[in-house]
Every structure is written in C-alpha cells, then in structure tokens.
C-alpha cells in the first residue's frame, strides 16, 4: 500500500528503533560522574596530598596498596568508570562534530579500540599484579 503524502519529496526520518541505549548511556554519565567525584578526588588526595604526597610513591607503595582488595576494587572501579565515562563523552562529541559518516565511523572505531585496550591492560595489571616480581 502506498502512503498518500502531501509532500512526497520532503525529508523523512527512519522509524524509531525502540532501543534504550541512549537513555542508559545518559543515565550512566550521571551516575558514574557522581561516583567519579568521590573516587578521583579521593585518589588525588591520597596520591598527592596525604603524608609526603607524590614523593613517597614507588613500587613498594603501590604493592602495599594493592595487597588490599579494597584499593584494588577502588582502582578497578575508577578505571572502568572513568574510561567508559570519558569514552562515552567522546562518542557524543564525535557524533556532534564529525561532518561525514565515514569520519564519524572511523573516529568511533579508534575510540572503541583504544577503550578496549586501556580497559583490558588496566584490569590485567590490577588482577595479576605480583608484588614479588624481580627487578630484572
């Protein structure tokens, strides 16, 4: 059946896809943002201000912290939330500013690949960190 259109050549947009992806990513940005305020400010305080600040940070300091599951969980959640929060923010920036569909596609592919690499590498280090590793 053909539709009777009063303006057959006027632009039309495709039907809604009934996906909640944009809503969930919007909600994620709000929730992760609030969590990151605590996680990142706490991290900066511990690393830069408490005791001697940056001067006491060395291998032993990191090893000592990561011996506790609490700090492992803190750093892991900070890694995942910050990476996905920032990645999603960049995704919307790319959506806004890319002029061509092919540019948009390749920029997003670069973004997603870098996100996966950083998340995988970071999680791998946190989970498999060995405090007794030899210097050589």
């Amino acid at each position: 059946m053909t539709l009777a259109l009063d303006k057959p050549r006027s632009p039309r947009r495709p039907a809604a896809r009934r996906s909640n992806f944009e809503m969930i990513s919007w909600l994620f940005m709000r929730i992760s943002g609030m969590a990151l305020v605590v996680l990142v400010l706490g991290h900066l305080f511990i690393m830069n201000i408490l005791d001697d600040g940056v001067h006491r940070i060395n291998f032993a300091f990191v090893a000592g912290r990561w011996s506790s599951p609490f700090w492992q969980f803190w750093d892991l959640s900070m890694l995942w939330l910050a990476e996905i929060h920032g990645g999603n923010g960049l995704r919307t920036v790319i959506n806004d500013y890319a002029r061509k569909d092919s540019t948009r596609f390749w920029l997003k592919m670069m973004l997603y690949v870098s996100m996966v690499l950083i998340l995988a590498l970071g999680s791998y280090v946190i989970f498999t960190f060995d405090p007794d590793i030899s210097a050589n």
Binding site: S10, P11, R12, A16, S19, E22, M23, W26, T92, N95
Partner: protein
Amino acid sequence: MTAATVAESAGARGDQPPVPEGAVTITVKILRFNPEIDSEPRWETFGVPALPTDRVLNLLHYIKWYFDGTLTFRRSCAHGICGSDAMQINGVNRLACKVLVKDLMAAKGKQTTITVAPIKGLPVHKDLLVDMEPFMEAFKAVKPFLITYGNEPTRERIQSAADRERFDDTTKCILCACCTTSCPVFWNEGSYFGPAAIVNAHRFIFDSRDEGAQERLDILNDAEGVWRCRTTFNCTDACPRGIQVTKAIQEVKRALLFRR
C-alpha cells in the same frame, strides 16, 4: 541609489519619506546571500534613520523599500504571533518584530550597529530566508496531533484545569524556529529533533486527553531524540514566547526514565 533603480527592484516604494524628528541613523549590518551571484554569504551595511521606538523589522522594511528591494526575509503578521521573522539579531535568535531599536542602542554618543543574520543550522535560500523543511520534518515526526483510541465520546473531551495547566507552557509555541536554530546540537550535520519538536511533543505527551504518549516517547527515546540535549539553555533564552524549553525537554527525559 537613484530613484529609477529603486523603482526597478521588486518591493521598492520609491523615494525615501521625510526623516521624523528624533530619529538617529543606525548602522544595520546584514549577512546577505544571493545564490545566483554569491558563493559565500557576505556582510552588507546600510545606514537607516530610526526612532528608538522602531522595531528591527521596521529597519529591514526601510532597507527593502528605499535602499535595496532585493533584500529577502520572511514576515507575515509583524506582531510576534506568526513566527515568520526569526533571525539572528546581534548574535541571538529573536523575532525582528519584537525587538525594539531602543533596546539595542549603543551608549550615548556612540554609533549604534545592529547585525542581522539568518538563523543558523538551516540551509539559506537567500539573504535571511532559510529552508524550514528540516525543521518542519522534525516537527511532523513527533506526531503533533491528538491521538486517541476506542470510541469517540458523544460530548467534548473533558479536562480539568489542573490537567490543562500541566502542558500550558508548551501550547504557546509558534514554530518560529528560534529555539531549534539556537541549539548547538542542531547545528551539526545530524538530524537531532531540536527543541521545538520536543516542545510540541511535550504538549501532547502531557495532555490528559491524548493516548499517543508512548508512541511519542518511543520516537524521542531514539538516538536523535531528547538524550542528545546538552542542557545549554540556549533554547530557553531564545524563545520569544518565554516557554521554558529546556524544562520541557527535561520533563520528557524524566517521563522516559520513569515510564511504566
């Protein structure tokens, strides 16, 4: 320009009328574009005698009638009701018929310059005349009409004053496109619905007589829907009817978050 050439161009009204007492000469800088000659838009400046009580639309009329009849812009009612003459005046989207010259006057003794450009984000046909079709397409896509199912009532559809109040603000929209073309998300190449379409969806989503809210919410839940809003409030600032546009968009977001 001589009287003869003025008479030749369309819309011209012959010789200039006598300048009224108390008039000052205003520099009007217009971003013009003639698709038959120009490859790029260009600024053109006119010196127009104006009273402080004149509207910017009067200045444009003066230019069209006495200086250059080829100046092209939309206007219909000239009283802020039809929404035809939305343009960027001194960098902000306004209706030319609602902005008074006295509100744009420079400090005493300084020359007043008023810049007028077409609204942004829509293809320019000529001078201040833009193609409204992408804007209207977004408007039509949200189904801006009453949707009901089941048998029609034998009497009118009754609504309480409180139910009417719920969407009162968004009934004021005149589709001038001031809000949508002030939105930085709309300026990009995508097809974001834009504030005006969301305002008109809001008008029906929150109407107690309407039964199509879920359909409209589905449409606005899409990739180009309300979630692209960055809450910059440009739309609220631009609206000549004073609609709380960003608030309406937020209410649609909230309805999506908490539906069912």
